[in-house]
């Protein structure tokens, strides 16, 4: 990042402001491209994983090898679809909602540390910023459901809002022990604190952190609205939830945001619990960005595995799980990790 700034300031002869704007534009478009690629690769991966978990193949015919071009074909199809805005819909909100959902996800991508010197926005409040902006998604979903003027959409949006607002609490609480250990909210500092092989990664530091990792994983599934917590979308009861009325490109935005969010929560899990870009064996850090992405894809696979195994829970079970089980357990984790730090002398 510093190298990029100095390049634009010294070599290209731009002013400080010009260099900042150029770097920001490059990073934003890079993040957006990676995000779009993610959506395409993960839709294909989701269908293949779902297939193999059920002893079948998934897409096989588009493209030569294992239907690799299926997601590309789907995207092209979706781009060619008619853009329909319902007559009774609130047009302004209807058009703006998918953008807001995508924005919430894209903003959070800014603070992801891909490699030792490569993070779009190296913020001191990085982790806090990620949790803050990713809650924009809730507003987008609620807007989409309300603007559609459709009972199924509204049900889905209300459920989605209730679920995501609730699960943000255990999500953030599960990350607190890590912040306590690191003493910083900066995403790079959190990763650097896990140096030295797999035993120094936070999820194996002590039992409370391991439980916090599991809690984070469960809350992140609920946060991305995926099965077994896909209450906002429940295709068997609500038609498709908050994006029932959306077609073509606007639907593609929701779709993109869903998979971007999936990779986002997986990357946060990797960042705060699974050692970020450090390789499991110390001294093998020759490709930190690749290590980071591979770990992220493994977490995405875990998400898919859970989705295609467990049945959907009821709304009351969902809320019970959040408020009566996960929040107490994460609170115990916070206290326990603190006591462990005191006992082991890590606290200064």
């Amino acid at each position: 990042m510093e190298a990029m700034y100095t390049f634009f300031m010294d070599k290209a002869g731009m002013g400080e402001l010009g260099a900042h704007i150029t770097v920001a534009a490059i990073m934003a478009s890079l993040m957006f491209i990676v995000m779009a690629l993610c959506a395409i690769i993960f839709t294909w991966m989701e269908r293949k994983v779902a297939g193999f978990l059920q002893s079948r193949y998934g897409p096989m015919r588009t493209g030569r090898w294992h239907g690799w071009a299926q997601a590309v074909a789907d995207m092209l199809k979706i781009l060619g679809k008619e853009d329909i805005i319902p007559a009774e819909a609130d047009k302004g909100l209807f058009v703006f909602a998918p953008l807001l959902v995508l924005l919430g996800s894209l903003l959070a991508w800014a603070a992801i540390p891909w490699a030792p010197d490569f993070v779009a926005a190296d913020l001191d409040l990085g982790l806090f910023y990620i949790f803050a902006v990713s809650s924009l998604v809730v507003i987008g979903i609620l807007m989409a459901g309300w603007a559609s003027n459709n009972k199924w959409s509204l049900y889905g949006a209300a459920r989605g809002a209730a679920q995501m607002v609730s699960y943000e609490i255990p999500l953030a609480l599960a990350a607190i022990p890590v912040v306590m250990y690191t003493g910083s909210l900066n995403t790079q500092d959190i990763v650097i604190a896990q140096q030295g092989g797999i035993w120094n990664w936070f999820f194996l530091r002590n039992p409370f952190l391991f439980v916090a990792f599991i809690m984070y994983f469960i809350a992140s599934i609920a946060e991305t609205n995926r099965g077994p917590f896909d209450m906002p979308e429940t295709e068997s009861e609500l038609v498709s939830g908050y994006h029932t009325e959306y077609t073509g490109m606007r639907f593609a935005f929701f779709f993109l945001a869903e998979y971007a969010n999936l990779f986002l929560v997986s990357m946060i899990a990797v960042m705060i619990f699974l050692g970020g870009w450090w390789s499991p064996i110390p001294g093998l850090d020759f490709a930190p960005a690749l290590t980071f992405i591979i770990k992220g894809v493994i977490m995405v696979f875990m998400n898919m595995w859970v989705r295609w195994t467990l049945p959907r829970v009821r709304v009351d079970q969902l809320m019970h799980l959040c408020w009566k089980v996960m929040i107490p357990i994460t609170l115990i984790c916070v206290i326990g990790a603190g006591l462990w730090m005191m006992a082991s002398g890590a606290a200064s």
Binding site: L53, S55, W308
Partner: protein, 186 residues
């Protein structure tokens, strides 16, 4: 309170058990058959689309008469030794795959094949014509068939049951010939 922890334990253990079951399927060979490329091997007596070998068929009309849904259309012209078949068609809009035609075909020309994927865009194309009317007509009478070099059902097969019952061979020899004649005339 004990129930609360029991519930948590049950949820965690059953989720892990379920995920263990699904992960096993990743290593298992998928059961899917890649249909147009791979096909199921049909059992020997599978009733697929009916096939009629036109070099064997002598237009005896038994199949058309037996057919409970009248889906076999046979047309012929002429009488006696002059009789020629001009059309043999099976209407698969009607066919119920009962296999009565194949079981009673005395020449063994009509058989059940193993084909099953004959989807069409227009149901009128499901009437399968086995003869092209522009080509040569198929003789029906036994004598004409042997004369013109068409396949004729061997006589030996009919004679075989004859020696077993008793000595009166000439009596049994005559009826099959007359039966054939009658069948051809009708």
């Amino acid at each position: 309170m004990a129930q609360y922890f029991a519930d948590i334990y049950q949820a965690v253990s059953s989720a892990i058990q379920g995920m263990g079951i699904t992960i096993k399927h990743i290593y298992r060979k998928p059961v899917t058959l890649q249909y147009p490329d791979e096909r199921q091997v049909m059992p020997e007596r599978f009733r697929g689309f009916v096939h009629n070998d036109m070099t064997k068929c002598d237009s005896c009309n038994i199949c058309a008469k037996l057919c409970p849904v009248d889906c076999i259309y046979i047309e012929s012209e002429g009488k006696g030794k002059e009789r020629m078949m001009t059309r043999y068609a099976i209407d698969y809009n009607k066919c119920i795959w009962c296999s009565l035609c194949t079981e009673n075909c005395h020449t063994g020309s009509i058989t059940m094949s193993h084909d099953y994927d004959h989807s069409v865009y227009d149901r009128r194309t499901l009437v399968y014509e086995f003869m092209d009317p522009r080509e040569e007509k198929i003789p029906c009478h036994r004598a004409t068939r042997t004369e013109m070099g068409w396949w004729v059902e061997p006589k030996e097969e009919k004679k075989k049951p004859v020696p077993a019952p008793a000595t009166d061979t000439p009596a049994t020899d005559a009826p099959p010939a007359t039966e054939d004649d009658k069948g051809d005339d009708s």
